[in-house]
């Protein structure tokens, strides 16, 4: 596996200390770790966004649809300076701004509040349409969801519509840790490509492969990156 960032155990080195501070000794399931690599590649190398541009109309948008993936999200936001590091302490506590699901009103740099699955794609489609209607053609809209989250029918409303209307500014990322109860026979990518999306399926720990897939040009149609991670890790 090729990576451009050294690792500490299961985590990219720059994120590890922040992640451990969120974790505060708690034991997390493997799925908590499954999104950290994608989040790091996005914030480190792909997204045109910084703590100084969180309110710029022309910024890229990242919408975390699987809102339970917060530990890595908060760690990456702290590593990149969006939130003060001491916010990571007492995550979920009575005075904390960092819940077990993120709230865009409470956390700088967070584009949507999520937690109930199946809302990110619809909000992302609307965001892309709103940017286009205002002539903001540079920003890209990235939405991260999970393979089990795809069970929610609302995703398929958004997938069909975005494909039919060729929303080229959209990129969906599906973390596939084979957690969907009834699986996705034929693969996840096919749910998108049959609706006109382009697709890459890559190793969800391979930073070069993720970067290549996340930056592939797709001017006239939306793109999905299926990031496969080992559910046993």
């Amino acid at each position: 596996m090729t990576t451009t960032t050294a690792r500490v155990g299961r985590l990219p080195t720059p994120v590890a200390p922040y992640f451990d501070r969120v974790r505060a000794g708690r034991a997390f399931d493997a799925n908590v770790y499954s999104t950290v690599d994608v989040l790091w590649v996005l914030y480190d190398r792909v997204l045109r966004i910084s703590p100084e541009t969180v309110d710029e109309p022309d910024r890229d948008r990242f919408l975390l649809s699987k809102g339970h993936a917060v530990a890595g999200y908060y760690a990456v936001l702290a590593a990149k300076g969006f939130v003060p590091v001491d916010w990571l302490d007492d995550q979920g506590g009575p005075e904390s701004r960092l819940g077990d699901h993120p709230d865009r009103v409470l956390v700088p740099g967070v584009e949507i509040g999520s937690g109930s699955l199946g809302h990110g794609l619809g909000l992302g489609v609307g965001t892309a349409l709103g940017l286009r209607a205002q002539g903001l053609l540079t920003p890209r809209v990235y939405m991260l969801l999970g393979d089990a989250e795809l069970d929610e029918g609302s995703n398929h409303e958004a997938i069909a519509y975005a494909g039919a209307t060729g929303l080229g500014s959209l990129t969906a990322i599906v973390i596939d840790n084979a957690s969907a109860t009834h699986g996705w026979p034929g693969g996840i990518a096919s749910r998108f490509t049959v609706n006109g999306w382009t697709a890459d399926t890559v190793d969800g720990r391979d930073h070069e492969a993720l970067h290549t897939a996340l930056t592939r040009p797709h001017p006239d149609r939306p793109h999905v990156v299926v990031a496969v991670v080992n559910s046993e890790e």
């Binding site: 865009r104 909000l123 609307g126 709103g130």
Partner: protein, 328 residues
């Protein structure tokens, strides 16, 4: 859901066209409803041309009526197909980029089917939109339960900070729509085939329409039920006030007008505004009669007039309820 109006792909079919299976009574309701809907379509089409901050999100319903606007503003008139969850999600996303979305469909598909999207994709994101529903409680009586939405205002009322307008006449719709879209908070406009004889408008505070003198019972009629309510209490010692804006309810006006007895007459679920009246009069001994559409599913078709009668919302039914209330 099923729809009986023309999807966008069959633009030759005008929405005034009644489905072939509709009964004569249902056809009349369709014509009435499209008159109300046209007031919305005409005004919204103008607003889209005037204000580049506005956008309209549809799920096939009324799409053909907006084809001129869609041709003029293809990036701001967005028909997502028969996808109500996406319709509200898109509205939330549009609002997050700074646009002012207006979302439109039949009330049950707009408010009930995608309720979680209203709660999360708008409110939880601190985003706002204007929802414009048609069909009301039983405009499409012959269509049956799927197209009836007596609980829409009660559902919206579970949310914080929403304004609800229930116009009583089509000529009230343009000003209500314009002032609502010009604002920046969320609002629900409940359009209906039902209508009073003339428009009243106003700012939503209670308007005293009939003054029966000091100490008389106060009847508050909402939206299109005013004329019926006036007819019902013509020979009774009852003052009558009217509003098109049940939320936020004019509690100051209520306190100024109400004596001991208060009667609510609402064209949606009975008791929807009981809690706000109770809270407004919490420091006063009072009695409240809350009239509106019943909870039970009747499993009957017919016309809106039939449903008025079955729910006790025709003049005779209202008179009977009010008389019993005043002579315990």
């Amino acid at each position: 859901m099923s729809t009986t109006t023309a999807p966008s792909s069959t633009s030759a079919q005008h929405p005034t066209t009644a489905p072939s299976s509709t009964t004569p009574a249902g056809r009349d309701a369709m014509v009435e409803e499209t008159i109300m809907r046209h007031a919305f379509v005409d005004t919204m089409t103008a607003i889209l041309a005037e204000d580049p901050r506005t956008a309209l999100v549809l799920a096939d319903i009324s799409a053909s009526a907006f084809h001129v606007a869609a041709d003029r503003h293809p990036d701001r008139v967005l028909n997502v197909g028969i996808r109500e969850q996406l319709m509200l999600g898109v509205a939330g996303g549009l609002a997050l980029t700074g646009l002012r979305p207006v979302v439109h469909s039949y009330a049950p598909f707009l408010v009930e089917r995608a309720y979680e999207q209203i709660k999360l994709d708008l409110d939880h994101q601190a985003a706002s939109a204007v929802l414009v529903g048609i069909g009301a409680s039983y405009d499409r009586a012959a269509a049956g339960r799927t197209h009836l939405s007596p609980a829409d205002v009660a559902l919206i009322d579970t949310l914080d900070g929403w304004t609800v307008h229930v116009p009583g006449h089509r000529d009230e719709v343009p000003d209500l729509l314009r002032s609502t879209v010009a604002g920046d908070s969320s609002a629900y406009l409940r359009l209906s085939a039902e209508s009073n004889d003339r428009p009243r408008g106003g700012d939503g505070t209670l308007q005293l329409v009939r003054d029966a003198g000091p100490g008389a019972a106060l009847l508050v009629a909402v939206g299109p039920l005013l004329d019926t309510a006036l007819a019902a209490v013509r020979e009774l010692p009852v003052s009558v006030a009217w509003t098109h804006r049940p939320r936020p309810f004019d509690t100051a006006g209520l306190r100024a007008l109400a004596g001991t007895e208060v009667i609510l007459v609402e064209p949606y679920l009975a008791g929807t505004s009981s809690r706000v009246v109770g809270a407004a009069l919490v420091d006063r001994p009072h009695r409240l009669l809350a009239l509106g559409v019943g909870r039970a599913e009747l499993r009957r078709y017919g016309s809106a007039e039939d449903h008025h009668r079955w729910h006790g919302l025709d003049a005779g039914g209202l008179r009977q309820s009010v008389t019993s209330f005043l002579t315990p």
